[in-house]
Amino acid sequence: MLRVALKGLLAQRVRYLLTAFAVLLGVAFMAGTFVLTDTINHTFDDLYTTIYANTAAVVRARQAFNPGISYQTQRPPIPAALVAAVRRVQGVREVSVGIEGYAQLVGANGKAIGNPASGPPTLGEAWPLAADMSPYRLLAGGRPPQGPGEVAIDQHSASVGNLKVGSRVLVLTKQPPRRYRVTGIVTWGSAASPLGASVTLFDHKTAAEVVGQPGKVNEIDVAAAPGVSEPELASRLRRALDDPSLEVVTGTMVAAEGQDAVHQAMGVFDTFLLVFAVIALFVGSFLVFNTFSIIVAQRQRELALLRAIGASRRQLVASLLVEALVIGVAASIAGIAAGIGLAAALKALLGAIGVSLPATGIVVGERTLLVALCVGTAVTLAAAVLPARRAAAAPPIAALQAVDLEPEDDAAHRGAIGGALVGAGALALGIGLFASTGNRVALVGIGGAVLFVGVAVLAPLVARPVSAALGAPIAQRSPIGRLARQNAMRNPRRTAHTASALMVGIALVSVMAVFATSIRASVNSILDAAMQADYVISPASASSMATGFSPHLEAAVARLPDVAAATGIRAGTVKIAGRTMAVLAADPTKVGDLFDVGVVAGRIGSLGANDLAVSEQVADSRHLVLGSAVPVVFPATGRKVFTVRAIYRDRQVAGDYVLPLAAARSNFVEQLDYQVYVKLRPGVSAAAGRQAIERVLASYPTATLMDQAQYKAQQAAQIDQALGLVNALLSLAIAIAVIGIANTLALSVHERIREIGLLRAVGMTKRQVRATIRYESMLIALFGALLGLAVGLALGVALVTAMRTSGVTRLEIPVAPILEVVIVALLAGVIASLSPARRAARLNVLEAIATE
């Protein structure tokens, strides 16, 4: 029986090729993600180990909690005077100090180098005291910075900003912008920069002034004398310093912290990409299912013959599953190879956009091989089980009958199963979206998948009438259209399953479109209602509360005669009620005039240094009223208790808690504004105001001045950018579905060779043959798009409804994206038909007719 299976496979190999390719794409995406993250993790593991190789212990301030990965310095500095005490400890060979903070280089062309809002951070540091404890390596021709006017910069920034040793460079810090001379260019270990971050190195005293605090350092790094172990040195330091606000950790632990941070960040990235790999494989499984169904139907007579001569059903199923197994394994192995290539290409791409990685090899872990191989094979096998069983159920008598059209199946049975699946999927989705307990993400994912399968099961029931309706316009216009419509209608199961693969991608794209449009509408309506400022000064593409600008910017703008008020907004990470979150802080006396967050109780203007404002939603759920006490934990300064003095409605912009500026001053480590709101004096024209402010901003290249419309546009652009990325990744799922349509058509052409020959004989031109297949393809694609839009819009509405309490207050159904989806589907149909249509048109009339 195995021989029969392998022979069958060999005979059908061309037909299975596209199926295998679909599986290959999904596996490649998955393996590529694994390889890329493993490679990056491995690279950084090595780097951190190297960097801290000579650091035995680190003395630094204790943190109340770990705020996670952040571009901001979250640890308070410690007195520089401690260095002397550390030096005195037995077993200390060498001491170096770290000073670190915000610094932004501006390139020779006046453009900021690196943008922390959309990429790696821009840092300022002190030139290391001990070279063997520093990650930085000075390139030949440079020297360390000395005095207040000199800096060294990383190699990546130097090449981006076109800066050389001797160049003058503008550097933005929390101090007013200042120009420095570049005295040296450094690498970070073997990399051009730390993960693409832009680094400015100052001499010690300057660093303390412009990025740190005078008389303070961020950490003290200690090298051990020979024979002294890391833990030994750390405990001696602890004893000697004896200060509960300090902590002493070993070099190994610090390296591990850095490694963990990278692993954590890569884990998020990894999961994000894997979601799309799983979607691709899911769509691929539709393809496998469909191809097997068609091929098995086409081989019905052969299989029935095997049954007639004594093969059992089990043997038949087994032999078909062996075919699936071979395809799955082959496609997965090829997919892994392609994935490794993909990862290498992505790594090169990361290098090209500035995230230069040290030159290390590609890491292919066991997990990559095992998981990718198993998943790819399992998906193929699972998708083949049903078609195999259905084929084996055929009676031996079928060997004697020519089966041309697929047998009608039991509509009631199909409807019941499909309905049950749709119901179960919708239920799981609903619980995932609306209930507050359980593993919501998993419920949404599984619910979505079950729902899609359910719709695919139901789709054949409507395939005939829907194809008839969709095909009506072309059928009326041309006889070729009529033929194509009939072709799409003749195998409703095949048409429906092919369309279902496209449905998945289109549905996901539509969900995202509804979601993004609704968010945009919600943001706009809030800004319309709440923003009273004339202008916002914001980082060029503010996406996170990454860093910001020096408070000097706010002061300089506020001093302008045309400006009535300017207030900076600060952001920081805190822990409230056990949850780590970002909160905003602003000057309560000024912010009310610039931004109306819809205060429902109390007054923001009366917030004292130990007061805060909360959103209505949090107030409701935590039963907070005016006067309630809210403990807030700051990473740097620990637990502080605040009193609720105001409750507001709009959490979309302000978040759940707003602190007074005074609290930020005394508890945040970095004192940077992430946005500045500006109101002009009455009577000042917008043009005049803008001109005045822009003169100030000339020396802050990262800051952009936006009026309300521009700010809205920027917010919309950010949403669109995120949407674009997701859509780009979803396009893989759509591409696989297009392969599915091409595959189905190729199989159909194969099966209709005689018919096509006949049509050619009675006068169908090649062009007409191609058109028939193209129209059929477009009909299938359109059917898939409609299914996808229906499911996607329903899911989108559900998602937006579920997100209402999170600030998505407007539901908006986007029209343009829907039209785009339809156009994309039609194009997909045309593309999918190209090769099958060409093949069909090339058929030799006589040979086609003679084909048995």
Partner: protein, 254 residues
């Protein structure tokens, strides 16, 4: 009366509906080459039913395919009316088939998704032309298909299917209709029926029909019978009786 004709032309008649002159068809190449038509010349007069007979492998189907523009000769010339098929590209050949030639195959004549009516008018549909309702009506009536027009091929008997195919072949009022063993798959009643219809079409509509057959009874419906042997025309009989045909076949086998 037996005459072997070398030139295949009857000088006394006007331009024939179709003509093959010195036609050679070689399949394959080198060792495997098969000479299917060996310098065949023949003309097919307007308004006549010609039968082509001969042993299996004698080149009957090949001759028909080449005459009908489904295949090309290796050497020689095929003329449909005044048109030389050798000078046509695929597109023009397709259009010529659509406009001027009808074809009935031994089996598999109909598109399974289309009804009998749709199958009949298919060549017109492909050309984007409106069928002449009166003409289609006459055809359908004379082939006794009125009752069956709404059915799909799978719902028709073999004889009915072949009659639909004949109707389709005639619907464009083609200059020529070719039929390759149209009765091959039919029982003798259906076969007789079909042959009677073809004969009627020739007589009533002045059609030119060339039909390949193995059945002497079928051939006896013809105005003329061409006998092929080893790719050559070996005999050409005018309106022979079934006995004359049997005799000719026996001679051929010898």
């Amino acid at each position: 009366m037996v005459r072997a004709r070398a030139d295949g032309l009857r000088a006394s008649e006007p331009v024939p509906a179709a003509r093959i002159a010195d036609g050679v068809k070689i399949y394959g190449r080198g060792e495997a080459a098969v000479l299917a038509l060996d310098h065949v010349s023949a003309a097919f007069a307007q308004g006549a039913l010609t039968a082509v007979m001969g042993p299996s492998g004698s080149g009957k189907s090949t001759l028909l395919h080449c005459l009908a523009g489904l295949d090309r000769l290796t050497a020689g010339q095929v003329l449909i009316g005044e048109t030389d098929l050798g000078s046509l590209d695929d597109k023009s050949m397709t259009l010529l088939r659509r406009e001027r030639i009808g074809f009935v195959f031994q089996a598999y004549n109909l598109v399974p998704t289309l009804t009998a009516q749709e199958n009949i008018v298919l060549p017109l549909t492909l050309a984007g032309r409106k069928p002449d309702a009166a003409w289609v009506g006459r055809l359908v009536a004379s082939l006794r298909l009125e009752e069956r027009l709404g059915h799909r091929p799978s719902e028709l008997s073999g004889g009915q299917q072949q009659r639909v195919a004949v109707a389709r072949a005639l619907v464009t009022r083609p200059d020529l209709v070719f039929a390759d063993e149209p009765t091959g798959n039919l029982d003798s009643r259906s076969a007789t029926d079909l042959l009677a219809q073809i004969r009627r079409a020739v007589d009533a509509f002045d059609q030119t029909v060339v039909m390949v057959t193995h059945d002497p009874r079928a051939a006896s419906y013809a105005d003329r019978v061409l006998f092929l042997g080893d790719g050559r025309v070996v005999e050409d009989l005018d309106a022979p009786s079934p006995d004359e045909i049997l005799e000719a076949l026996r001679r051929l086998e010898r």
